[in-house]
């Protein structure tokens, strides 16, 4: 432990005196020689002792609490650290969020482009579809049936007993507006396209294996297991429907 005084490592002065009195003249000459060299141009490079090194004054960079050299820096320590950590923490949070945003933007650039997404919805003008008629549209690569049903058809479908259905669903659960029945025209058996206004139940008939669907698109006879699929659609106004 260096608990004792720190003194320079040299021997005690009076021991040196005998060594140096003889050489006193020599050394004072040496000292004089050194003076002009160091004095003339300080940056010329001889530094006579490490004690000549002056630590520059960093006051321009100090925080206000540690500007005064006569005040202990210990008390303000916690405050200064807290400030630094707060700024660092906040910046990291913002940085992580920014990084996440950038990365997800780059990753999502690989998802479906706008033109593809545009194909995912279809807007249909309903006033062009006469009553009793079924119009087929191409939507997402599949046929979409839009049928303008008459009151008689609606009444019939609503009155069907659910017990007789293979895939029981009430007509009200399959349409938003009973006048318009919108289903995907893909037979749930093996995927052929049923023919409209055909079959024994006033709906659709699939010629491939003989599945009969009614005017609500429900399977009534034949091998198909499920009703025709009802896609998501909404009516922005009475004359248009957007499917998808």
């Amino acid at each position: 432990m260096m608990s004792l005084a720190t003194r320079c490592g040299a021997l005690s002065p009076y021991l040196q005196a005998t060594k140096y009195t003889a050489n006193g003249v020599l050394f004072s000459r040496v000292a004089k020689d050194l003076v002009p060299a160091a004095g003339a141009n300080a940056s010329a490079g001889i530094r006579l002792a490490h004690t000549d090194i002056k630590v520059p004054d960093f006051s321009d960079y100090r925080r206000p609490e540690v500007l005064d050299p006569h005040k202990s820096s210990r008390e303000s320590g916690d405050g200064r650290k807290a400030f630094s950590y707060l700024i660092t923490g906040a910046t990291s949070v913002v940085g992580v969020y920014a990084a996440k945003t950038v990365v997800s933007q780059f990753v999502s650039s690989m998802s479906a482009s706008a033109d593809v997404l545009a194909l995912s919805k279809i807007e249909i003008k309903l006033n062009e579809i006469p009553e009793g008629k079924n119009i087929t549209f191409k939507w997402r690569g599949k046929p979409l049936f839009v049928r303008h049903r008459s009151e008689k058809e609606i009444a019939v479908e609503v009155a069907v007993n659910l017990g007789e259905l293979r895939d029981p669903q009430h007509d009200n659960d399959r349409v938003l507006n009973p006048k318009w029945m919108i289903v995907i025209g893909v037979c749930t058996h093996l995927g052929c396209v049923p023919i409209a206004n055909a079959g024994d139940f006033g709906g659709y008939y699939c010629p491939c294996h003989g599945s009969h669907y009614d005017a609500s698109g429900r399977i009534r006879k034949g091998p198909a297991p499920l009703n025709l699929e009802v896609p998501f659609y909404e009516f922005p106004d009475d004359d248009t429907v957007i499917v998808g």
Partner: protein, 478 residues
Amino acid sequence: MAASVCRVGSTVGRALVKNRSPILLSLRRGQASVSYAQSLVGAPETRLTALDNGLRIASEETGHATCTVGLWIDAGSRYESEKNNGAGFFLEHMAFKGTKKHPQTALEQQVESIGAQLSAYTSREHTAYYMKALAKDLPKAVELLSEVVQNCSLSEEEIEQQRSVVLRELEEVEGNLQEVCLDLLYATAFQGTPLGHSILGPSSNARILSRQDLVEYISSHYKAPRMVLAAAGGVSHNELVSLAKTHFSGMSFEYEGDAIPVLSPCRFTGSEICMRDDAMPLAHVAIAVEGASTASPDIIPLMVANCIIGSYDITYGGGKHLSSRLARLAVEQNLCHSFQAFHSSYSDTGLLGIYFVTDKHHIEDMMHWSQNAWMNLCTTLTESDVARGKNALKASLVGQLNGTTPICDEIGRHVLSYGRRIPLAEWDARINAVTPKMVRDVCSKYIYDKCPAVSAVGPVEQLPDYNRIRSAMYWLRF
């Protein structure tokens, strides 16, 4: 002046013989005469008196045939300003160059003829002039000391001659890289404050300090209330007091213009200074944090902590069985040539650190493991580490009092710092009270997540950037 001292070899046992009964001694023939606990309690008391002018006199009568007597003064490089930095050191050189009553040769003659040894040292907060002589020569010693301190002749011609000696010494100390490294550590840790001054002072001051500066220094700082006349050895306290009355009553206790120099606190700055020179064979690196003051209760746990880290030198024979973990690592991975944990404390602050010497390829590793040792102190210290540290500390405290001079030095410094001598029994009790939790808490208070001051001399390219060093002062796992 020859350095020969005829001091009769004297052991602690000798001092204790006086306190033990003969019967006990004969029963324990062949074994230690006293146990550690008994020796603590039986240690001679340090007596303290004060003169009217404020000078304190403290002595311990150890029964040696020799004695060390000296004056410890509350003056040092910390009391100096930029302009007179180095005055204390210069004055120390001038001290033995003759007094008003005894010119140099006469003074040397006086000291030589009683076979005594006159020495002095200057540190940052204390200055000491002391003499080692035979116990019976105490009166002469005190007289000479009083001459040296109060009536130094300070002749112009001597000053000029000593100037070149000081410059030569400054040049020489450049070769002592430990001193250079530690001086730079202080310069950067306490930058802008008086504690950053080197004791030696800059060479420019050594060239221009005049007699007037030295006289002013003496008159501002060599005042009776700031001095202690301390003695240890075969001295009688009463005799010492009467001698002091004779020689030191004239010591001044008033300041010019009532300007009592007051020490203002010194700001610690976490910072780094590197003196890179790839031509040097070894790098000397020191890292330190602000430590505890002498009077702080945290001193003891910190001293225990330093004993746990310990010190190491490539000449140690323990190899990988050394008790200090850092030393074991140093051996196994060839991390360094030497290291030591140090704690220098002053009246209101301190410097707690590790200093190591290593070659240029192991600086980074050594720094990493040193800071790892610090983190271990703050977080995962175990009962056995602390027990070992406590024992090592007790052993070193007792062991360093191996002679009248170390004892006298301790008396002088303690009275200046604490106002009394802290007896070994008290140190022992306070050390015993240290627990691992206390060490962890105290170390965390001073070390954990604090900005260190770093100084490095030599081929230090591998020294990590300061920000990395600062990041290693905490562990994310906690």
